[in-house]
Point group: C2
């Protein structure tokens, strides 16, 4: 018999679909930590659902690379490895470059203004060294460009790969120097987008992603070294 008043009982649409969304949030929020086992029973109790829809959701998350299914041993939250970062960022770079190119062809003046507003807000966050806000707005800008590209497939592919990278909370970590560079790159992104300079925007987004890759890899390497010493 199901738990009647489970804390976060959910209602709308199909359970497995809702659960995919919820579990994604738990994973990128690190509430389900990388390398740990997915607590099937606890999650069923928490959401007030049976194992069937939860396990359906886990299969989907596994195909997206957020969890790994070990036969007869359950589901485990995957870790972000250096190898994975080296793989995913180039792909993400190619896709973001394409999104920039397509966006330049289809974006409206209103959308450009909206991106500019976000851009200005983000610059303010930079001045105040408010990393959390900076990153939140940063994501909104990239999503706005994707939206302007008018290609759902591209959006879906990008977001799936982004999610995989977001498992690493420390993605947000940047040195002061790298942060400054990122801001310069974003100035260029804004200008090329406003000028609808597709090729230049594509190139800038690609370089931007590659710089981020390098920065994240460096961070992970420093983490590894720290872990070794412990």
């Amino acid at each position: 018999m199901m738990e009647e008043n489970a804390p976060e009982t959910i209602a709308r649409k199909s359970l497995h679909h809702e659960l995919v969304d919820r579990l994604q949030l738990l994973i990128i929020g690190a509430e389900l930590a990388p390398g740990t086992k997915v607590p099937e029973k606890a999650l069923c109790a928490r959401f007030g659902v049976s194992r069937t829809p939860l396990r359906e959701a886990l299969k989907v998350l596994a195909s997206d690379g957020l969890v790994r299914l070990e036969p007869n041993r359950g589901a485990w939250v995957t870790r972000v490895t250096i190898g994975e970062v080296e793989e995913v960022f180039p792909v993400l770079g190619a896709l973001e470059a394409l999104s920039g190119e397509l966006a330049c062809k289809s974006i409206t003046e209103e959308e450009i203004q909206a991106v500019r507003a976000l851009h200005d807000q983000m610059m303010q966050s930079y001045e105040q060294r408010d990393l959390a806000t900076y990153f939140a707005i940063n994501q909104k800008i990239h999503r706005a460009i994707l939206t302007a590209a008018r290609n759902k497939t591209l959006t879906t592919s990008c977001q799936a790969l982004s999610l995989r990278m977001q498992r690493a909370r420390y993605l947000a970590n940047m040195t002061e120097g790298r942060w400054y560079e990122a801001v310069q790159e974003h100035e260029m992104i804004m200008q090329f987008l406003a000028a609808r300079a597709g090729k230049e925007l594509a190139k800038t987004l690609l370089d931007h992603m590659d710089a981020k890759r390098a920065s994240v890899v460096q961070w992970l390497q420093s983490q590894e070294t720290t872990a070794d010493r412990a």
Copy 2:
């Protein structure tokens, strides 16, 4: 009670994983035709499994866009629409371009020779106007380049999108003129790969994919017109 001697009872690894593979084959082979309902019961009987693993597999296929889940109405095999082709091919083009660029950096001499062997075989199929063989080898060449790119994420992304396109059996349809062009493009692909000319190979693969997009769209449009008349 389960059917004991179902015709294609399957064994190894987890059922849902195996079922994902099997159903993919049925869909791209059009045994499960676009636009039709996925016959849950019949497939359970056919594979000698219960609904649980089959439904898990359907959720995964839905997230890959091969089927669409309609709440309380079951799973339907998705159709390849012109809109989808216009979306997917540019993304696939960007990814294949990347694969070419990466492949040029990492491919070994042995691998180049292997691709050349495939290339020569493919040219023979062209001479004989053996479309089926031509396409089979064509796919092998693209897969070999992906393998040489040494990026699993890229491979996975490409193959997922390729699968979506392969639902259209008629993808293989080409006019004589288009076929000739495709062959010329493949000559360039072979040469640039052998010369490890990454940028040039990337550009050629991108153009190759765009030409294929145009060809497929044209085909689908002619189909639509035919359907209208009927």
